[in-house]
Every structure is written in structure tokens, then in C-alpha cells.
Symmetry: C2
Subunit: 177 residues, 2 copies
Amino acid sequence: MKLSKTDERRSAIVDRLADHVLAHGLVAASLRPLAKAAGTSDRMLLYYFSDKSELLAATLQRIAERMTGAMVEQVSPEPLPIEALQKRLAAMLFDDRFWPYMCVWIELASRAARRDPLYTPIAAAIGQGFLAWGEAQLAAENEEVRTRDAAKLLIAIEGMVLVRAIGLGETVERSLS
Amino acid sequence: MKLSKTDERRSAIVDRLADHVLAHGLVAASLRPLAKAAGTSDRMLLYYFSDKSELLAATLQRIAERMTGAMVEQVSPEPLPIEALQKRLAAMLFDDRFWPYMCVWIELASRAARRDPLYTPIAAAIGQGFLAWGEAQLAAENEEVRTRDAAKLLIAIEGMVLVRAIGLGETVERSLS
DNA sequence: ACATTAACGTAGCAGTCGCTACAAGCATTA
DNA sequence: TAATGCTTGTAGCGACTGCTACGTTAATGT
């Protein structure tokens, strides 16, 4: 038994917070609405977490875990060439089920772009995780090509996500035809 | 004489507001700090603009104008193939002088992703403007290839911008090698 | 049974948010 | 000169922000 009662309670709260952030974004992540979504009071959120920063960090980490968990399910048995993997990923990330993650992701990136000390390391870690996932999935003739293809894959995917975010989803499809 | 005194004053204010938003982002764009940056009071901002929405729309439009103005200066005399144009753009947008625009751009995209009625049309318009600029700059054998290459260019550039935003600038360079 | 600590509710702090009512200054025109 | 309308400062509204002081109840260990 590694988890104390407090840790269990914390974890349950973080789960509800993750739901709320995925549904409404970081802009709507102020203490009282979050507390409402978690079924407690702002008072208790700051009882279980020392800070709003700590609370948000835990929530974003949980969101990232869910995302990578969903990506692991999408793993193909054998390595894929970059074009095939890219198509597969694009289809997945544009699914309505995953789009909330992309919205939070862009929000996170917009804060990391301003070098916010809370969000910058979180965003970088998620990006690195994606690169590692891509390298494991890619079929490449050597390691140099593998890392380069993973980088290309990340950039292509992020580009499609951002272009769809600004309402030009059909432009993404046009680029693939 | 088309511009009234009021319009001139409005325009001057918008210029200072654009400076402030480029420097500190939309997150820091609340009325009182903006007013301070413009050398007036929040009271006067809402005298010259009916709304905070209208004020921000005008400011973002001004920022977009500056950006496209800077891009026009970067126009090459003859059309370029997509690889060359992409390299040229990447070098430009990653310049420290232009990076503030990219920060605001991602922030704009993050709000458009949530279908915010204020930011969504502005972001889409800027994206369309970029596509048109790209089509005019690209060397392509026919119109179908031209529109597709412009879409590809937009996606590639946005991808590089977002990946750099999360602190993985070296990943962008790795993808280009 | 009693003492100690964990868990939580109530209420409120000082500060910021977008926005507005009110009035005073100002210039122009009648 | 008087009156009108444009420009602006002061002050404040109610709602919200992160956060905390204080008290009470519930559980726990001895």
C-alpha cells in the first residue's frame, strides 16, 4: 500500500480537474470553477495542493498521461515509414475525441512561447515524449534518419494542428491530396 | 482630409497598443495596463472604442498589417520553389525581430481553437492572407500544384513555429539537415 | 476516555477585471 | 457672452482573482 488516503484523494481531484481543463481550457482554470468541477471548494484545492501552480502542473501531467496512453493504443505492431505514420496520426488527432487535447496543447505552447516558468518545462517534456514515441514507431534505415524523421513528423503534425485550429481544416486536407 | 481628429487619435492609440501586445501578449492585455502603455486611462480607451473586443480587434489588425508589411519587404523578385521559400521564411520568422509576432500568433490560434467568436475570424483571415502570399511567391507548374504547395508551406512553417515555441528549436534545425 | 491531528466550511482579505455614472474642463458656434 | 457639444478625470460598481485566518467537526492513536 503505497498510496495514502490523501494521495488517493489528490489523484481523484486531479482527474476531475483534467476533465474540466480539457473541456474549457486553461483560460477557464481559475480556482473556484475548478473546485466546482472537482466537487469541492477552492479552500480544499489549496489544502491538497500548496499552490495553484502545483495544482495546474499535476493536472497538465495527468492530461499528458492520458494522451500518451491513448497514443500507445494506436501503436502499430511493426514500424511504419514516415508518410504512413503521419497519415495515421493526423486521422487520430483530428478525431473529435482527441481534439480537446490539441486545444490544451496549443494553449500550453502559447504560454511556453513567452517562456512562462511553469509551462515551458511541461511543454518541452511533452514534445520530447512525442519525439521518442515517433522514433520508436518509425521505420528508418539508420539512426540519423530516424531522429530526423521524428523531427519532421513532429513539425508536420504540429503544423496541421495549428492550421486546423485557426479554422483552415480544409487547407490541411488540400495539402495531403 | 479623410481622417478626423478622432480617427487620428484612435490610430495613434492602436499603435501603442500593438507595441504592448507584441511585447507582453494577449494575456497581459487588460484595460488598465493597455491604457498605461498608450499614455491614457482605461476610461479613454472605452471612449475611443465601444468595447474591449473592438479595441483588441483593431489592435490585432494593426499587428497583422505590420507583419504583412514586413513580409512584403521580403518578397523575392522572381517566384521560388517551395523548398527555397520555406528556408527563407523560416530564417525570417525565427529572427528575434519577428518572434514576438509568432508569440501573438500562437496565442491567437489557441483562442481560435476554442472557437472564440472574437478571435476565430481574425485568425482565419490572417491564415488566408498567408496562403495568398504564398501562392503569389511560389513557382509552380500549374494552379493545382500552387494551391497545394501553399498549403504545405503554411503547415510546415506553422509546425516549425509551434515546435520552437515549446523550446525545441534544435529539433527544427535537425529536421532541416 | 482523552488528546492530538487531519479534514473541511465560512468568511473575508487585497487586488484586478470590464465598464459606467457624473461632473468638470474645453472649444466652437450662435 | 452664452450656450452647446466634444473631451477627459475621478470615483466607483459588482464580479472575479489567488489565497488565508479562524473555527468546527471527524478520525485517529494512546
